[in-house]
């Protein structure tokens, strides 16, 4: 396996993961499950930036997506009262 084959294999896996996690984040009824799917989407998007040789953008995406977005969404869900679907 040379580097070009590895690059295209990574692109296929990352594309499948992005599509699946984005559809899951939209269609989950439970709010916490949707937030976790958003965290997975951010993880795979950071991996895409990483594979495309941009490690600084990947660091920014990891910091914002993994830590800030998840924590702030969870604080917002905790401080509001909504009809949450418990499975």
């Amino acid at each position: 396996m040379n580097f070009g084959e590895l690059f295209w294999a990574l692109q296929i896996l990352i594309g499948i993961g992005l599509l699946v996690s984005a559809i899951a984040a939209v269609r989950f009824k439970n709010l916490i499950a949707a937030v976790i799917s958003m965290a997975v989407f951010s993880l795979i998007l950071s991996l895409e930036f990483y594979v495309l040789q941009a490690p600084d953008v990947a660091i920014a995406e990891a910091g914002v997506g993994a830590c800030l977005t998840t924590a702030m969404y969870l604080l917002a869900i905790k401080n509001t009262t909504d009809e949450e679907v418990i499975e």
Binding site: L6, I16, A33, I36, L43, S46, P55, I59, I77
Partner: protein, 91 residues
């Protein structure tokens, strides 16, 4: 088969196992199942990032894996605090 080729196969297998944990995240009946799936997926992907840094021979790429490991720990901690407080009823 050179050493770099072995690293490339290991990288593809790690990402494939990350996709298998994504299946658990989709099917998981309860929220703690999904939280554990997210945690194992971030750990697997951090290992894949380190192996990609070894393949391309650039030391800058290791830092991204370190930063992501620390930040995913904080995200998992927030999810766990939310679940504990909701179940016990402290807040």
């Amino acid at each position: 088969m050179t050493a770099i080729s072995v690293f490339m196969w290991a990288l593809v297998l790690l990402l494939f196992s990350a996709m298998l944990t994504l299946i658990r995240l989709l099917l998981g009946p309860t929220i703690p199942d999904r939280a554990v799936a997210l945690d194992s997926m971030t750990t697997t992907t951090a290992g894949a990032m380190v192996i990609y840094g070894v393949i391309t021979k650039q030391a800058v790429f290791i830092d991204v894996a370190l930063v992501y490991a620390v930040l995913s720990y904080i995200a998992t901690l927030y999810i766990a605090r939310y679940l504990v407080k909701k179940k016990v009823g402290i807040a």
